[in-house]
């Protein structure tokens, strides 16, 4: 279980997170929604320790993430980055098998390659993609490779940062389905940040609305449409008027 209590983070005078309280139960899929620049990515990076939060606590299974042994802690996570964040200098299979060829989970090269090809197949890519470089792939294919890399070491927790941004609706649908299938199949805890409401409906068990650095509403996805919360209603219906200012 991931628990955040009173998490704050400022960059200079810009107070991005102003006291976030959120709990993500083990094995559940939490989707955080909110407008651009509301701190969704920062929150996710605070959990991983990529950004140090200023105050508050973040715990994973009761242990403070800032005090956890770093390698063991990160070994429990997989992450799909918004732009894929694939390593340009490495072939696709080397990207997917990156974690399998280094550190505690190190396997022989041939085995790592075999697992990488299997994971590529799992995300709908043919084995011949394995020997290409990321720059030779389309945006959708890069997202799939990123997804294959995130699940390669079968992590307990997977983070998805804007998984469908920049994709056409069909490819976005394919990625959403893949994420849902993989999360269910692996029994992983998932945390996704997105603006895409079709992603929310496809991926989420639970939804949290982040605005002005705090969680304005959270609850099961089934209750999202019926909630009277004005922030959620404005966001999911894409209205220009409401408590969320269009000019931010």
């Amino acid at each position: 279980m991931i628990q955040m209590q009173g998490v704050t983070k400022s960059f200079g005078t810009n107070r991005v997170l102003r006291g976030v309280d959120l709990t993500i139960a083990s094995g559940s899929s939490m989707v955080i929604i909110g407008g651009s620049g509301t701190g969704k990515s920062v929150l996710l990076k605070c959990v991983l320790g990529l950004v140090q939060h200023d105050a508050g606590t973040i715990t994973l299974d009761g242990q403070d993430v800032t005090k956890a042994e770093r390698d063991a802690f990160l070994a429990r996570f997989g992450m799909l980055f918004q732009g894929g964040a694939l390593f340009d200098s490495l072939k696709v299979w080397e990207n997917v098998a990156f974690r399998l060829m280094r550190g505690a989970a190190k396997r022989p090269k041939a085995e790592a390659r075999e697992i990488a090809i299997e994971k590529l197949r799992r995300v709908g890519l043919k084995p011949d993609v394995a020997d290409q470089f990321p720059a030779e792939l389309s945006g959708g294919m890069q997202k799939r490779v990123g997804l294959a890399r995130a699940i390669a070491a079968e992590p307990e927790i997977i983070f998805f940062d804007e998984p469908t941004t920049g994709l056409d609706p069909i490819m976005a649908g394919v990625i959403n389905e893949l994420i849902r299938e993989i999360v269910v199949e692996m029994g992983a805890t998932a945390m996704t940040i997105t603006h895409d409401m079709s992603s929310v409906r496809a991926i989420a068990d639970q939804v949290a609305m982040l605005h002005e650095g705090t969680i304005k509403w959270s609850g099961p996805v089934a209750e999202m449409d019926a909630t009277p919360d004005p922030y959620v209603q404005q966001f999911i219906h894409g209205r220009a008027t409401g408590p969320i200012s269009a000019v931010r």
Partner: protein
Amino acid sequence: MSPSLLLRSIGRPVLDMVAAIGRVALFAVQIISHLVRPPFYGREFLNQLLQVGWFSLPVVGLTALFTGGALALQIYSGGARFNAESVVPSIVAIGMARELGPVLGGLMVAARVASSIAAELGTMKVTEQIDALTTLSTNPIKYLAVPRVLAATLAVPVLVAVGDSIGIMGGWLVGITRLDFNSATYLKNTLDFLEAWDVGSGLIKGAAFGFIVALMGCYHGMNSGRGAQGVGRATKSAVVAASVMILAANYLLTEVFFTS
């Protein structure tokens, strides 16, 4: 201007500069501490050795060739004022080995390698590849910076040695074709007056300059600002900082090596 405003306008840049020096020093200490702790990334190191060493040979070689030739012409025409034309071979050799080989080699590597490292790592930073490394349980300093710094520190002295030889050859070529030197006499004069420490001090300078070049490339790349402008600024800062630091380090090392 009031005294407090004056003090503030001086104090702020000074504090910023001290803070920047501190950050670079801490970054260098981190790299050095990772040099001796596993895991070691041998493949990345060999790749960087190829990038920094082998691919810099043409630019360093050409620079040395033309510098050696020009140096011979300058010393000949300058020396003619006090009948010292005969010192051309020894001055070219000593000048190349002690000073021009390491400094010009270092500056050419700074232009080629510091910019390339800063642009590559800066792009990795803005496309979240460095964050991705962390999430894959890989320390970015150990995986990206250590192989580059180690490779440059080892490769630049070799480049300097090659540059020294080519520079001396450039002087010899000009000497025998333009200045009417006898080939055998020119070479004998070169060897007679060149001491091992002339070459050794230049190689030590080369190692220091290689370290500076890669350190600046990695530091500015890994701390790049956002977007294309951020990467551009990081690249420019890396080259400028590396070049200035090479010239400053050259003066300090020369003081240490030749005035004590």
